[in-house]
Symmetry: C2
Subunit: 248 residues, 2 copies
DNA sequence: CGTAGGGTTGACATGTTTCAACATCAGTGG
DNA sequence: CCACTGATGTTGAAACATGTCAACCCTACG
């Protein structure tokens, strides 16, 4: 077996051979179109944990696809408060919110040592004009994010702390399954503070809920990894504690 | 002056003469492209309050632009809980989240008697392939929504009840200003229950906060209209009560 | 005038934050 | 190898904001 670094090098080079092509931009592109897209993609050096891929306010020059590892996006509002907008895993695209005015509206930071595919937007833009299939794929991906954001707003707004944590764990698990990784063992690559920020809770509460779920035998927490022992119970808890909607 | 109904009729017919063209899809399109877009737009009969434009799960056939009046989008999650995702005003587009899989992921409902421009997606799709400027416009609009959603998640997550109401009022006011309408007098076309649902609060709390703000002399509430008396105080309150972010 | 839907207000219960102490772990240098 | 240190995570007690439940008010409308 080739050394790991070389393996990744090779995978990074071509979308056609990438195991993530059905999650990522290339999905639904025929081999001819794919080849053209491939030529735009630049897979650079590994990015260390805590390193910024792009910064809020910066001009939009590239969008990024997670190759391996993970990232978070962070937004700082007018008053200086910081909000984590999402966590990103292999196949996810970073930077979509920059198309509005050619400037990034959030920052992206690697959670661990990770690899990303860099795609220059001007060239992508030109290619999109050329390839209807790519245009469609792009719009679909953006629309998908839109729809996921809706789901998140729902979670954030309507669920109590246990519901939020449960939803998050199930969500991370589901995304692992999509990538063909063991869905019952979820690594928490981010810090507790990140989790807390993302879910709009205090980190003490995150801690408490995790231990409560563990004591209930629903999950097993071992430092940065959560094993889902009873998925049904977790699902149950993710919806319990959600408020009843007032009649419209 | 022509009767109102006739006036609107006329306005609805052509994007070129629409006062909202710089907010809406037509922005940045030259007159030639605009003409082609115009031909797709169908401005139908007035839509009564509480009427659904499209329903969650339904196939995506049209997207809609608010011509006048207002609308809300609602999403019902797996567990049957209902969440209002947004309020929409003239020039706003409804239906973007349907591009992901050609199905609507939320329902759209008119808040009052309103007019909408209906745009068939298949024809739009074809036209987008033909007109790069339209494609770009579409992507930008979607990206913009993405970015606004981020802002909303921030508000929802980090602010207390007073902060949420204040943010909402300022937001509605800002959007009125964008449309050249008096920004200090904000009509609340939606019910208190809708506000509560959108902001993830109970309607009792909405009520309490509104009267509290009124007693403080920041706003004046008269049934379905809020007058902003002290914008600075409102801004102050919209950021106060926001949590300090934990250090990453 | 009476009814119904929407909105307001009050008293109480509860979950989450806050503040503070403590535990754990990794890395560093003696 | 161990003691130190700082960063990270856990736990506890008390304060506080918001939810809950119930009563009440108001306005529109038949």
């Amino acid at each position: 077996m080739a050394p790991l670094s070389q393996q990744m090098q090779q995978l990074s080079e071509t979308c056609s051979h990438c195991s993530l092509r059905y999650l990522c931009l290339p999905d639904h592109l025929d081999s001819h179109d794919l080849e053209k897209l491939e030529r735009l993609v630049d897979s650079g050096a590994p990015v260390l944990a805590e390193t910024e891929l792009f910064a809020q306010g910066e001009g939009l020059t590239h969008i990024y696809a997670v190759r391996n590892g993970s990232a978070k996006t962070v937004r700082i509002d007018e008053e200086g408060f910081e909000q984590i907008l999402g966590f990103y895993y292999p196949g996810d695209i970073l930077g979509f919110d920059g198309f509005a005015d050619q400037h990034h509206h959030c920052s992206a930071v690697a959670l661990e040592t990770s690899h990303f595919c860099r795609i220059p937007v001007d060239q992508l833009d030109a290619l999109v004009d050329e390839l209807p299939s790519l245009r469609q794929r792009l719009v679909r991906l953006m629309s998908q994010v839109l729809s996921e954001d809706g789901r998140m707003m729902l979670t954030l707004g309507r669920k109590d702390s246990e519901g939020r944590i449960s939803s998050l764990l199930l969500g991370l698990s589901r995304r692992r399954a999509l990538r063909g990784m063991p869905a019952s063992s979820v690594p928490l690559n981010m810090k507790r503070a990140d989790l807390a920020n993302f879910l709009s809770m205090r980190l003490e509460t995150v801690s408490r809920v995790l231990t409560r779920l563990q004591r209930a035998g629903v999950i097993k927490v071992s430092q940065n990894r959560v094993d889902i022992l009873d998925r049904d119970a977790l699902r149950e808890r993710s919806s319990r504690g959600a408020w009843v909607a007032d009649q419209s």
